[in-house]
C-alpha cells in the first residue's frame, strides 16, 4: 500500500463541495451542519488511516516518520489550524519498525546450590538453560511459537508448534513439539515455575525436567457448561516418545492424552481451577507394554484487584498415578505435591511446597520432601529466588540444600496462558 495524495484531494474537494452547498441551504442549516461535522470527523479519521498506511509502507516517503518524534500535532479542526502534513498517530510507527520479524526473547536461568545431596546433587553453579523464544503470527489462520533451549550440554527444541486460531467449530488445533496438557506443572517452562526445581512427582513419574513433551497433534475445544464456567477438553496424539515415560518402537506406538479443565470465578478476587488428565503410551519394554498416567489437579487463587500488585495467594495440588506394565508385573505408583505462594508486597513472594512420590519403576521406593521459597522481583523482567529444600530419599539418605537462582527475560517474551 502506498500513500495516495489523490485520495486526500478528493476527500478535501468533497468536503469543499459540501461546504459550498451548505452555505446555500438555508432551510436545512442545522441538519447540514450536523452532516458536515460528521464528514469532518470522517475526513479526520481517513487522514489518520492514511498516515498509518504511509508509515507501514517501507518505500513510502513518510515511512521514516516512525523514527522521528513524538507527540502528534493537534488534529484538524483546531481554530486556524492548517496542518502542512498529516499527523503521526500512535500505533503507526510500530509496524514500520518491526515489519515481519517474529518477537524474539531470551529467558536466562542461573542456579547455584549449597549443602548436601548425595542422591540427586546439583552443581554448585550452573546455567541449566537459556530459552530463546521466537513467536509470530504466521498468516491469518495460524501463529507460531518456537522455544529453543540452550544448555551446557547443547541445544534442544523445547517446543515448536503452530496454533490454528481460526478453525470452524470452535476448535483450537496445535501441531508440533509441545509440552503436553497433563496437569499444570508439566506445561510450565522452567523460567515460569514458582520454584527453582521441579516437584519430586515430576522427577519420578512424569519424565523430570523435560516432562511429557513430544511431537504431537493437539485439538481442544470449549464444552457446554453452566454460565460463567469455563470447561475445556483437550485431546493429544503424540509420536510416543516422552523422556523415560513413553517410548515408541514402531509407528503405531503413538501416545494419547486427554485433559479436561474446569474453571470458575468464585468471586471477583477468587477463582478455582480443576483439571483431570489421562495419558497412555508404550514404555521401554516394547510395543506390548503400556504405561498409563492419571492426574488430578486443583488450584485456588486469590488476588484483590485493587491491590493486585501487592497481595495474592495461590494454593495448588497435583496428584498423579502411574500404571506401568512390565514383562513380569505391573508397577502402580502414586505421587503428589501441594504448594502455596503468598505475595507479601510488590517485590517479595513467600512460598512452600510439600512433595511425596513413589518411583515409577519401583513403587516400594518413596521420596518425600519439603521446600521453603523466597522470591524477590527487582522488576517484572527479573527475579532472584532462594529455596531451602529438604528431601528424604527412599534409600534412607537425606538432602539439605540451599538453592538460589537468577532469572531474567530479554526482549519481547509473549505472555503465558493462565
Amino acid at each position: 500500500m502506498r500513500f495516495r495524495p489523490r485520495a486526500s484531494c478528493l476527500m478535501l474537494v468533497a468536503l469543499g463541495l459540501l461546504l459550498a452547498s451548505a452555505a446555500h441551504a438555508q432551510t436545512a442549516e442545522e441538519e447540514l451542519a450536523a452532516r458536515l461535522k460528521a464528514l469532518e470527523e470522517r475526513v479526520r479519521q481517513l487522514e489518520a488511516e492514511l498516515a498509518g498506511l504511509r508509515a507501514r509502507s517501507p518505500g513510502a516517503p513518510g515511512a521514516t516518520a516512525a523514527a522521528t518524534p513524538t507527540t502528534a500535532p493537534a488534529p484538524t479542526g483546531a481554530p486556524g489550524a492548517a496542518p502542512a502534513q498529516l499527523p503521526v498517530y500512535g500505533g503507526a510507527s510500530a509496524a514500520a519498525s518491526k515489519v515481519f520479524n517474529p518477537d524474539i526473547s531470551l529467558a536466562g536461568n542461573f542456579v547455584g546450590a549449597l549443602g548436601r545431596n548425595s542422591v540427586n546433587p546439583l552443581p554448585v553453579l550452573e546455567v541449566p538453560e537459556a530459552e530463546l523464544g521466537l513467536q509470530a503470527i504466521i498468516d491469518p489462520f495460524a501463529r507460531g511459537d518456537v522455544f529453543l533451549s540452550f544448555g551446557e550440554e547443547g541445544v534442544e527444541l523445547e517446543e515448536g508448534y503452530l496454533t490454528f486460531t481460526s478453525l470452524p467449530g470452535g476448535v483450537l488445533a496445535k501441531v508440533g513439539k509441545m509440552r503436553s496438557e497433563f496437569g499444570v506443572v508439566n506445561k510450565l517452562h522452567t523460567h515460569n515455575l514458582p520454584w527453582i526445581d521441579r516437584p519430586l512427582v515430576t522427577e519420578n513419574l512424569l519424565g523430570g525436567e523435560d516432562g511429557l513433551n513430544d511431537a504431537s497433534l493437539s485439538l481442544s475445544r470449549l464444552l457446554p457448561a453452566p454460565k460463567n464456567v469455563f470447561l475445556e477438553a483437550t485431546i493429544e496424539v503424540g509420536r510416543g516418545d516422552s523422556a523415560d515415560v513413553w517410548q515408541s518402537s514402531q509407528r503405531s506406538d503413538v501416545s494419547l492424552l486427554g485433559h479436561l479443565r474446569g474453571y470458575g470465578d468464585l468471586s471477583e478476587e477468587t477463582n478455582l481451577d480443576l483439571g483431570f488428565s489421562y495419558g497412555r503410551g508404550h514404555n521401554d519394554f516394547g510395543s506390548s507394554f503400556i504405561t498409563d498416567l492419571y492426574g488430578v489437579d486443583a488450584t485456588i487463587r486469590w488476588k484483590p484487584l485493587r491491590r493486585a500488585l501487592y497481595r495474592s495467594f495461590l494454593a495448588r495440588a497435583e496428584l498423579v498415578w502411574s500404571r506401568r506394565r512390565e514383562p513380569l508385573d505391573t508397577q502402580t505408583a502414586f505421587g503428589m505435591y501441594t504448594s502455596a505462594d503468598y505475595r507479601l508486597n510488590r517485590r517479595w513472594t513467600l512460598g512452600g511446597r510439600f512433595d511425596w512420590s513413589d518411583r515409577a519403576r519401583d513403587p516400594s521406593l518413596t521420596d518425600k520432601g519439603v521446600s521453603a521459597i523466597f522470591t524477590y522481583w527487582p522488576s517484572e523482567f527479573s527475579q532472584l529466588r532462594w529455596q531451602y529444600r529438604f528431601v528424604d530419599y527412599a534409600e534412607g539418605r537425606q538432602g539439605h540444600e540451599l538453592l538460589f537462582q537468577f532469572l531474567y527475560i530479554m526482549g519481547a517474551h509473549g505472555a503465558h496462558p493462565f
Binding site: K37, A38, E41, R42, Q45, A48, E49, A67, P69, T70, T71, A74, P87, V88, Y89, G90, G91, A92, P140, T165, S166, G169, G170, L172, L219, R221, L222, L223, P224, N228, F230, I235, V237, S252, D253, L256, R261, Y263, G264, D265, E268, N271, D273, R280, H282, S287, S288, I290, L305, R306, A308, L309, Y310, R346, R347, S379, E380, A415, P417, F418
Partner: protein
Amino acid sequence: MRGHWLSTVMLLLTAAFFSLVSAPAARAASKLYVVTTTEDLASLTREVGGDHVEVEAIARGYQDPHFVEAKPSFILKLNRADLLVLVGLQLEVGWLPPLITQSRNPRIQLGTPGYLDVSQFCKILEIPTGQITRAMGDVHPLGNPHYWLEPENGRRIAQAIANRLAELRPQEASYFQQRFQDFSQRLAAAEKVWDQKMAPYRGRKVVTYHRSWPNFAERFGLNVVGYVEPKPGIPPSPSHTLELINMMKRENIKLILVEPYFDLKTPKAVARETGAEVVVLLPSVGGEKEVTDYFKLFEYDINLLVAAFGRIR
C-alpha cells in the same frame, strides 16, 4: 497388537467426542456483542452503540490495566464476541494475546474487522525516540497508552468504534453515526464546563505516581514535574524518594496524584515531608462506584483536583 487396537479405539473415540459435543451456545443475533479491554472503552462503546450492542469490559476500572490476569472466564467472553476493542500501544501485551489465541473466535483475530485497536486514531504522547532499553523501566515503545484521558481522544475513539460498528452492521450505520454526533455534542458542552473549572489552575505543578496522565495534563494545563516511581513500572526506591522530596520542597509542589491501584505508603510519606496533599485520581471509568461513564470520569477527577487546589492554594 493390543496397543495398536487400543490406539485405534482411542482415535475413534476422539473423533466421536469432537463431532458429538455441541458448540458453545450461539450468541443472540439481534445485538452485536462487544468486548473491550477497559471500562473506558466499554463506556465509549455504549455511547455510540446504544441499545444495539451488548458491551462487556475485561479489566475493572480500579485495576492496573498493565497487570490483568488472563483468566479463562475472559476466554468465554471473547469466544462469542463480534468485536474486540483494545487500547493498544502494548498496554495489554501481558495478558490479551493468549486470550485472543485461546478464544477460538476467528472474528476477533488480528487483521479482521472484529479487532479494533483504537490507538491508531488517537493523539499519542511520549513516543520515545532514539534507543529504547529496559534500563528506562517498563517503557512503552509505541507511546504512552493512557491516551483516553483526553476528551478529544475520547471523541476519536467513539468515532472509530461507531465506524466499525457501522461496518459490521451496515443497516444500522445511521443509528451509530447519530449516536456519535449526539455524544460529540454533549462532550463539547462538557469540555467547556471542565475548561472553566480548571482554568484557574493551568500551569500548576504536580507529581504523579505513574506516567498515567500526560494527555490529561496537557489538555487541562497541569505541569507534571516528577513521579513517585523512579522509572515506569519500578517501585519507589529510598534514594529516588529523597530526591523527589527535595525537588518538591524546592519547587513548592503541593499535590501528588496517585492511581487507585498503587500503595499510598510512599506518597503519604512524601506528602508528610513536603506538606503536600495526596489525591487518588481515577484513570478509568469504574474506579469508584459513582464513576459509571466517560463523562463522570472527568467530572470526578476535575472536581477532586479543583477541591485539592482550593485547599492547598
